[in-house]
């Protein structure tokens, strides 16, 4: 059964489609700059900086301990994991889980996040729905079932209209997600206008454990280090080195850049 193609008034294109793109884009840019202004300075304490570096050092010891002599490796492993006074065994940090109740700054961060992202989207979505109502804006290029009609065709009471024809509100939401790549082009990667990225972060943030628990991190490192053995990378270095001639190409054949003066 052939679907009769609707021909839309070209005024719709001029006065609806384009303005909505424009509005969405501008709102996104404004959101980006507002988020920069509202950004609270995350000041790390000395202890946090120190602890994170210690954890890195332990990891490096596990990964690259093979480049230092065995004694040196064992000495460091002992320092960290020793039963009586090893660093990881002994050090307990006071950990305050940063939930919204106990940490006021978390609360304000959440509020700011909501204000800059969710609120404008709802407001503008509603405004667009009210302003640009009563007509069909565009057609999505793929067929949709009738279930989508009430969602995408708000304000258009036509029972026989193909669900692919959508209202301006739907076009607005399409833009919010579609302009994401435009934002990264113009505002750079880590921009505050990227709606979908923010929502992704909110979802994954709830799922993963708070990373600030230093004690757990220490325990994990202790275990990992216990399991690490020393496999000296230099065991057969002479044989490896002397298996072939040295590559002396280009030695002394060009002027080397000078030093300080």
């Amino acid at each position: 059964m052939a679907e009769p193609e609707l021909l839309l008034d070209s005024n719709i294109r001029l006065w609806v489609v384009l303005p909505i793109v424009f509005i969405t884009f501008l709102v996104g840019v404004i959101r980006h700059y507002v988020s920069i202004l509202l950004q609270s300075d995350k000041k790390l304490t000395l202890e946090q900086v120190s602890d994170s570096q210690i954890l890195i050092r332990s990891r490096i010891l596990r990964e690259n301990g093979k480049y230092i002599p065995k004694q040196s490796f064992l000495m460091r492993k002992f320092y960290f994991n020793n039963q009586e006074d090893g660093f990881f065994k002994n050090t307990k940090r006071k950990v305050v889980p940063p939930s919204p109740m106990t940490d006021p700054s978390m609360l304000t961060d959440m509020m700011k996040g909501n204000v800059t992202n969710v609120l404008p989207m709802i407001l503008i979505g509603g405004w667009i729905n009210w302003t640009f109502s009563g007509f069909v804006t565009t057609k999505v290029p793929f067929p949709l079932t009738l279930r989508f009609k009430p969602m995408l065709q708000q304000g258009i009471e036509l029972l026989s209209l193909d669900a692919s024809w959508v209202s301006s509100a739907s076009w607005y939401f399409l833009n919010v997600f579609g302009l994401r790549s435009m934002y990264s082009l113009i505002l750079g990667q880590d921009n505050g206008a990227d709606q979908s990225r923010i929502m992704q972060e909110q979802m994954s943030g709830a799922a993963m454990a708070m990373p600030a628990d230093t004690n757990k991190a220490f325990k994990a490192e202790w275990e990992a280090l216990e399991l690490t053995d020393h496999q000296w990378a230099l065991e057969n270095i002479e044989e490896e080195l002397m298996s072939r001639e040295l590559d002396l190409d280009g030695m002394f054949s060009k002027e080397l850049p000078t030093g300080i003066f």
């Binding site: 000395l46 010891l61 030695m251 002394f252 300080i260």
Partner: protein, 288 residues
């Protein structure tokens, strides 16, 4: 040598000058006299064309000017930076460095203390204070402060290297070796750290340390075939071990072999440099 100023630098177009400065900045070169010449001209003649780059150039030129005892130029740069970034800790640190260059160590130290009051995690200010101790010749104090610093900032590689140098100056080779081990772990592909470690081990002496030193000279060579110092070190450590009365025959034989190999490579290197072109035999060997 090339230590006299390269006249061509002055005639080069503005963009080349700016790009040269950027390259030196990114590669952390300390060719201060060149930086002063290029930077001064850039600032005096082409300030308007630089845009926002000018601030980081002021910083770069100022530090170079301090190296060359050009306090007039350093002062000018500092004033411009102070005007643009009042209350900035980064600028405060530069002011402190100028005071250090003028040997006003008390004032410089006060400057750094004020930075640390606002921001106790500011590593730059703490390190400058340690540099003051070093400049005043107070090695023991500098070592102590640097150790305390490293307890808090265990990942600061620049600090580990500085500490290793201080220990070497005090002939405390065991502790210097510890510092170099930290650096070897964080930079496993850096042949210079391996070579320095080997030299420290060689200096400590004793059979076990000589073995370690030979191994680490070899590692340095493996990472960089052209490290002549490591090649000589390999030869010397192997020869020493071979000549020691405490080793058994197998070990002696192995070390003689290593020393011979090293000698061979040294001769090859000097053949190549002597004529600055490959000897005929090498060409023949290569083509076969």
């Amino acid at each position: 040598g090339h230590y006299c100023l390269d006249i061509n630098v002055l005639i080069i177009v503005f963009t080349e000058m700016r790009d040269k400065l950027r390259k030196w900045r990114e590669d952390n070169h300390r060719n201060s006299e060149q930086i002063v010449d290029v930077g001064e001209e850039l600032i005096n003649e082409h300030a308007s064309k630089l845009g926002d780059d000018i601030w980081i150039i002021y910083e770069q030129v100022m530090i170079a000017a301090l190296d060359c005892s050009r306090d007039d130029l350093a002062w000018t740069c500092l004033q411009e930076l102070k005007k643009q970034f009042p209350g900035s800790q980064r600028v405060k640190r530069l002011a402190g460095m100028r005071l250090e260059a003028l040997e006003k160590y008390e004032d410089a130290s006060k400057q750094y203390d004020s930075i640390l009051q606002d921001d106790p995690t500011n590593t730059a200010a703490r390190k400058r204070k340690i540099s003051i101790l070093k400049a005043q010749g107070k090695s023991a104090e500098a070592i102590r402060e640097l150790n305390e610093y490293l307890e808090q900032f265990v990942g600061d590689q620049e600090a580990w290297h500085e500490l290793s140098e201080l220990y070497i100056n005090e002939h405390d080779y065991g502790k210097a070796a510890f510092c170099l081990e930290e650096l070897m772990m964080t930079n496993p592909h850096n042949h210079l750290y391996c070579e320095q470690y080997a030299e420290v081990k060689y200096t400590q002496g004793g059979l076990e340390n000589l073995e370690l030193s030979r191994k680490y000279f070899a590692q340095a060579l493996k990472l960089n075939n052209g490290n002549m110092r490591a090649l000589f070190g390999l030869y010397m450590s192997a020869s020493h071990i071979a000549a020691s009365p405490k080793v058994n025959a197998t070990v002696k034989k192995a070390n003689v072999k290593y020393a011979a190999w090293a000698t061979n490579q040294i001769n090859r290197a000097y053949q190549v440099t002597k004529t600055n072109q490959l000897p005929v035999e090498e060409l023949l060997l290569r083509s076969s």
